[in-house]
Symmetry: C2
Subunit: 376 residues, 2 copies
């Protein structure tokens, strides 16, 4: 028995004003190819299908095509829960009508207690989906004194465990922040000040826990309590994370193995550091020059139109930092010493604009002008 | 063979800042009761399910509950098309997955040519859904020189008719403005200047045409080309329209009868005309004092806080007009004669506020003050 665990698709996300929809489409294509060549019993999405509760129409269409091909053509059931970015009621429309066609959207507490049951070669496997919820919702629905995310998840897990059947294996889909797990910059906090943390211990009664919310693939506490990580990188801080999905294998005893399957984005998201000239030189032969880039220019002098120059070789530079132009604290230089004079700035500008140095006469002329102006 | 034809639900609509969702819910309840006691082969909604392309969550939930009860509990198939108020792609999510559960959302040209086929006691009946579309969309999709709504519908009807099968009866769902039909104030124009009109003659090859868009129930051209009208009144101009649904009966020969079935809104929408005192007196014993009202005050003098006074007996006065305070053109009186002086206005105000007339001394005092002020 095998299934694929994914999460945090964020379909429709923009990154520095660039739509990632084409990249997301290419990655979904990889998932479809995988499913076509390596059949599994189910595909699981642990929340944040879309990037916001009212997603753009194009994102809905992309998801619709994916569902048609996976549930329809490949006959692989999809089981999903809304995350904190999704609108649960909006996503849940028609879920009752879709489930017989293999699309299982578990979007409320009633769905949570009605697991999707699959008959597999290792017997009955039940998938419980705990839609994303904050403590307030849980307190209100269950009329229990629940104040924190941790207490909410404890209560919800206990409520689910009461419905376990002795002959079935149990998988949980859950969108939350497990205490001690590693954050990335692209997650939207669930609450302020760390009160969103949930102990992994509530999850130990399950055979496998398919987590969503954190964008880095990781396990927490037990081998069978895992984040698959997001579909692709959604911040430069994730440049070294390997994105993909988790192939989970179960045997008669329950959880067997979890294997990371790479998903490769058409554009990598990475950070390049160096001086302008060396970056441009390297860009001319860089086979991955279309990647989404954050460039950190280390040059110490002012540069005219650096973005334009960089984009001539790296068209998708999305963000530019100039730490070389800032006063380095570690350098312990006095501000006075570092401050660049008007003449220095003009010299940099001239050099950039004319591609040649100021002659002595020119330097004298500009110095005189600056002097006159400052004395006025 | 019978089916119910409805249209223009506009779930989530606001009327003069009042949400109509509770009224809509009560009316949907009447549809469910009807279906439970008088089984039909299908329920048809000819567009404008929601009031806008991104409907409020509560409207989606209401629709979801309705679908669950009708398709699920009562096992009556629902066949619907998006109207000009709906977002076709948004509404169409998961339609592939829903159809086997009896919810048929026909939201694009491919769906249009894939009719919903029902086996009934009079043989095969095929329901074609033509989602709302403007000429630009049709021109683009079919690569045909289509400039007007009329040409677009002619092309679409011809395209559908080519797929007819000789042994089936054909029903069309269509959201458009049939030439010569009667408008109401609550429809959003499809285009400016009458170019949105479509000839009913394109529709004659069908056995029945379930139209949506116009809010008044009516037939156009043939007995079998009909608007069911909207779910409820959405403007005061519709106060005398009987809202409801159309029960269509087919026999071996095709269309048999169309019968209007009333749907009763909890709050009527009506206009009351008269002087304030008589309206208030009547309101005290009016059994339908909670209706949504437009009040036309015919009083000729200024009135203090008329809305407050009216709402003491008619809590849902939503709009107030004061034609009695306007200059009647037909009266042919000179503006000078009609203009009310400051003293006249004060006299009205005093009378309203104190519930007594000005004494002669008081009238003299105010006249003197006004005179002094006007001479300053």
């Amino acid at each position: 028995m095998k299934f694929l665990h994914t999460s945090d698709w964020h379909l429709g996300r923009q990154f520095h004003n660039v739509s990632l929809l084409d990249d997301q489409k290419a990655i979904l294509e990889q998932i479809i190819e995988y499913l076509a060549s390596s059949p599994v019993d189910a595909l699981v999405i642990a929340g944040d299908i879309y990037d916001r509760s009212v997603p753009p129409t194009a994102a809905i269409e992309l998801m619709n095509q994916f569902v048609r091909r996976v549930c329809g053509e490949l006959a692989v059931p999809i089981i999903l829960i809304p995350g904190n970015h999704d609108g649960a009621e909006r996503l849940g429309f028609g879920s009752e009508q879709m489930k017989n066609a293999g699309l299982h959207i578990l979007s409320n507490f009633s769905d949570m207690l009605t697991p999707v049951e699959l008959d597999t070669d290792v017997g009955k496997v039940r998938f419980y989906g705990m839609p994303y919820n904050d403590p307030e919702l849980v307190r209100h629905h269950f009329k229990q004194p629940v104040a924190t995310h941790d207490e909410a998840h404890q209560l919800l897990c206990r409520t689910i465990v009461e419905t376990f059947e002795s002959d079935a294996k149990n998988v949980l889909l859950c969108h939350c922040f497990v205490d001690g797990a590693i954050e990335s910059e692209s997650e939207r906090p669930l609450s302020i000040g760390g009160s969103d943390r949930v102990s992994h211990e509530h999850f130990t009664p399950f055979d496998y826990v398919a987590l969503g919310h954190l964008h880095q693939p990781q396990k927490k506490g037990e081998d069978y309590i895992r984040y698959s990580g997001s579909l692709m990188k959604y911040s430069f801080s994730e440049q070294h994370q390997k994105k993909g999905m988790t192939l989970v294998e179960m045997d008669e005893a329950g959880f067997h193995t979890a294997t990371h399957i790479d998903l490769i984005a058409p554009h990598e998201m990475r950070i390049i550091e160096g001086e302008l000239d060396e970056i441009i030189a390297q860009g001319k032969t860089d086979p991955k020059s279309h990647d989404y880039l954050l460039v950190r220019l280390m040059d110490k002098h002012a540069i005219l139109n650096p973005m334009e120059k960089l984009r001539a070789v790296y068209p998708n530079v999305l963000h530019l930092e100039k730490p070389g132009m800032l006063i380095g604290v570690e350098q312990q230089m006095s501000a006075a010493k570092l401050a660049r004079s008007e003449v220095d700035m003009f010299r940099d500008f001239f050099c950039e604009a004319q591609d040649s140095e100021l002659s002595d006469a020119q330097e004298k002329a500009i110095t005189d002008i600056v002097k006159q102006l400052s004395e006025q």
